[in-house]
C-alpha cells in the first residue's frame, strides 16, 4: 500500500516536472517570437527618428533654394548694370572710330592689275 502510494507520488512528481519543463519550453518559444515584434517596434522608432532628421534637412534645402535664386539674380543684375555704365562711357569713342573707318574709302586697283 505504501509502495503504491510512493510510486504514485513519484509518478506525480515526474509528471509535474515534465509539465514545468514543457511550460518553460513554451515560454521560450514565445519569447523568441517576441523578439520579432520587439525588434519591429525598435526599428519603427529608429526609422521615425531618421525620417524626422531627413525632413529637417529637406526643409533647410528648400529655404536655401529660394535664397540662392535671389542672390544669383541680384549679382547678375549688378554685373549687367556695370555693363551699361561701361557702354555709356565708351560709346562715343567707339562710334567715332567706326564712322571714321566707314568713311575712309581708298579706291585702289588690285595688286596684280597694277603695272
Amino acid at each position: 500500500m505504501l509502495q503504491s502510494r510512493g510510486v504514485s507520488d513519484l509518478l506525480a512528481a515526474e509528471k509535474k516536472a515534465q509539465e514545468l519543463i514543457e511550460e518553460a519550453r513554451k515560454r521560450k518559444n514565445k519569447r523568441i517570437k517576441d523578439a520579432q515584434s520587439e525588434a519591429k517596434a525598435e526599428i519603427e522608432h529608429f526609422k521615425a527618428d531618421r525620417e524626422r532628421q531627413y525632413k529637417i534637412l529637406e526643409q533647410q534645402q528648400l529655404g536655401n533654394r529660394t535664397q540662392m535664386t535671389e542672390q544669383s539674380s541680384k549679382e547678375t543684375q549688378i554685373q549687367i548694370g556695370a555693363l551699361k555704365s561701361q557702354y555709356e562711357s565708351n560709346k562715343q569713342q567707339l562710334l567715332q572710330r567706326i564712322i571714321t573707318l566707314v568713311c575712309d574709302i581708298k579706291p585702289e586697283a588690285h595688286m596684280n592689275a597694277r603695272f
Partner: protein, 227 residues
C-alpha cells in the same frame, strides 16, 4: 532485510526532491537559453533593418545635396547666359547707333559727295568689267550721274584701260531709308558689288569686333592666345 516504512518514505522524498530539483534546473536552463536566443534574434533583426534604413536615408540625403549642386550650376549658367545676352545687346545697340549717325552724316552734301565718289570708284576697281550697271537711292540719282565721269577718269588713269561703260539703273533703286552708297552690277547682274553704307558698316563692324569688345567689356582674362 526490508526497509521500514520511514526509510521508504524518506527515500521517496529524496527522489521526489531530486526530480523537482532537476526540473527547476532544467527550467532555469531553458529560460536562460530563451533569453539568450531572444537577444540574439532581436539584435540580428534590428541591425539588419537598421542597415537598410541608414542606406536608404543616406541615399536620399545625397540626392538633396545633388539637387543643391544642380541648382547652383543651373543658376550660374543662367546668370552667365543673361550677361552674355546683355553684352550682345549692347554690341548690337552700338551698331544701330553707328548706322543712325551715318544716316545723318550722309545728309551733309559735301561729305556725302566725297564718300559716294569714292564708293563708285572703288566699285569699278573691284569689278574691272567693261559694262557696269549702278543702283543707287532715288534721291541720289542726279548726284551719282554727276560723279560717274570722275570715277571713270580715275579708273582709266590707274588701269590704263579705255573701254568702260557705266549706266545707272533708273527702274530699281535702293530703299528710301538706306543710308546711301551704291550697288554695282556686271555681266547682266550676275556679279554684284554691294558698296552701300550699310554694307560697309557691317563689314567694318565685324572686323573691329575684337576691339569693340575689349573697349566695352575689358580685356578677357580667360583668353590664352592673342594672335
Amino acid at each position: 532485510m526490508s526497509l521500514n516504512d520511514d526509510d521508504v518514505a524518506k527515500q521517496i522524498q529524496h527522489m521526489i526532491a531530486f526530480i523537482q530539483q532537476e526540473a527547476v534546473e532544467k527550467v532555469e536552463e531553458i529560460e536562460a537559453k530563451a533569453e539568450e536566443e531572444f537577444n540574439i534574434e532581436k539584435s540580428r533583426l534590428v541591425s539588419q533593418q537598421r542597415a537598410k534604413i541608414i542606406e536608404y536615408y543616406d541615399k536620399k540625403e545625397k540626392q538633396i545635396e545633388l539637387q543643391r549642386k544642380i541648382q547652383h550650376s543651373n543658376l550660374a549658367n543662367a546668370s552667365r547666359l543673361s550677361i552674355l545676352k546683355a553684352r550682345d545687346d549692347y554690341v548690337q545697340a552700338l551698331k544701330e547707333e553707328a548706322r543712325k549717325q551715318l544716316s545723318i552724316l550722309t545728309q551733309d552734301r559735301s561729305k556725302y559727295q566725297t564718300i559716294l565718289s569714292n564708293l563708285i570708284a572703288q566699285g569699278l576697281f573691284l569689278l574691272m568689267e567693261k559694262e557696269i550697271n549702278l543702283r543707287c537711292r532715288r534721291n541720289d540719282y542726279e548726284l551719282v550721274q554727276q560723279l560717274i565721269p570722275d570715277a571713270i577718269q580715275r579708273y582709266k588713269q590707274e588701269l590704263k584701260q579705255n573701254d568702260i561703260k557705266v549706266t545707272i539703273d533708273d527702274k530699281n533703286f535702293l530703299a528710301e531709308d538706306s543710308a546711301g552708297g551704291v550697288e554695282l552690277y556686271a555681266m547682266g547682274g550676275k556679279i554684284k558689288v554691294s558698296n552701300t553704307i550699310e554694307a560697309r558698316l557691317a563689314m567694318i563692324f565685324n572686323q573691329i569686333l575684337p576691339e569693340i569688345r575689349e573697349k566695352l567689356f575689358g580685356v578677357n582674362q580667360n583668353r590664352k592666345y592673342h594672335d
